[in-house]
């Protein structure tokens, strides 16, 4: 499905909560069933709309963390203290509750195995969500595309999808963590913010012309994208998804 697809007017659809899973102390994944879902591509997102009884509305965007799989749509939500939407999604939703979502949208920041690699995925915190959809799709398709994930988290306990990533490590996927605030005893991995030196050690070289996807808070994305260009990577080969301060 190359280029611009004719998809038709978007509508808000009902999404039913199937399950709420705790990923880390601050992060939950909510599995939704969206009747009539026509599928999505790894990397796309949805807009979520919550409406209060008096008509008050709030909208946020969330990346789809699950690979295409029937009518299932998983969203991974970081609870932001004093946030308006994330505490509701993370703490209040129960199976059979309903929210509205619109999508999938965002054909720019997508990957599928047929596009090949090598792939360099750089995730800052919850920026892992769309990249995890790509990694899960890769696994489901039994692709062996050379894929390197550089994943920045605050601490070992804050690594989202940690166990699953450990299981998937291998078969051409290399997962590298950097823990920026605290490290467990005996930690020999990276313990600083992502920089050019780290990217050079982990990533494919510019000559290999990797497809690069960077996702996370805006300052993280900026720093990584700049470092990659500084190392000689082609700017047009780097796709970014910045999570700006759209509130919690």
């Amino acid at each position: 499905m190359a280029g611009t697809a004719v998809l038709g007017r978007l509508n808000w659809q009902a999404a039913d909560v199937v399950e709420v899973v705790t990923e880390t102390p601050r992060v939950k994944t909510i599995a939704f069933d969206v009747p009539g879902w026509s599928g999505h591509r790894a990397g796309q997102h949805v807009d979520v709309r919550l409406t209060a009884e008096d008509g008050y509305e709030a909208e946020r965007s969330y990346s789809i963390a699950s690979p295409p799989d029937g009518t299932r749509v998983d969203l991974t939500v970081v609870r932001i203290d004093d946030g308006e939407v994330s505490p509701y999604l993370a703490d209040e939703l129960r199976p059979d509750d309903q929210i509205e979502l619109r999508g999938p949208v965002g054909g720019y920041f997508v990957w599928e195995p047929s596009q090949g690699g090598p792939l360099l995925l750089a995730a800052g915190g919850s920026g892992i969500a769309p990249l995890m959809a790509m990694i899960r799709l890769r696994a489901a398709a039994e692709s062996d595309v050379d894929t390197r994930l550089l994943f920045s988290s605050r601490s070992w306990d804050d690594i989202i999808y940690r166990d699953e990533l450990e299981r998937l490590n291998g078969d051409g996927l290399r997962v590298v963590h950097t823990l920026t605030h605290s490290q467990p005893p005996g930690w020999t991995g990276y313990a600083r913010l992502v920089d050019a030196e780290m990217l050079a050690e982990v990533g494919p070289t510019p000559d290999e012309r990797p497809r690069v996807y960077v996702c996370g808070p805006t300052p993280f994305v900026e720093a990584v994208a700049e470092a990659l260009v500084h190392l000689g990577h082609e700017p047009r080969g780097i796709k970014t998804e910045r999570f700006g301060p759209t509130g919690g």
């Binding site: 007017r9 997102h45 999508g103 949208v105 965002g106 720019y108 700006g244 759209t246």
Partner: protein, 85 residues
């Protein structure tokens, strides 16, 4: 770099509401500096309304204001928009 900025991809839903086609893979040419970028890579700011700015020269390309039933889109700085059919 501005910490408030997001990518064009962040308003993919809004754009698809208007254009009824995927717009983030379309490409726009800046009327001020001539640079061409995918809409998904254009810089988006959220003020009273949405402003899309050229990543190279910062000039406003598109302004968007909306209420429940209407949307106003202005193109002060777009020279051309290319959409694959």
């Amino acid at each position: 770099m501005d910490p408030l900025m997001v990518d064009g991809n962040a308003i993919a839903g809004l754009l698809q509401e208007v254009f009824a086609v995927e717009m983030t893979t379309a490409s726009g040419t800046c009327g001020t500096c001539g640079a061409t970028e995918a809409v998904g890579a254009i810089h988006v700011f959220r003020g009273a309304g949405i402003v899309m700015r050229c990543p190279h020269c910062d000039n406003p390309l598109v302004k968007i204001v909306r209420d429940d039933t209407r949307l106003w889109m202005g193109f002060p700085g777009v020279r051309t928009l290319e959409v694959t059919l």
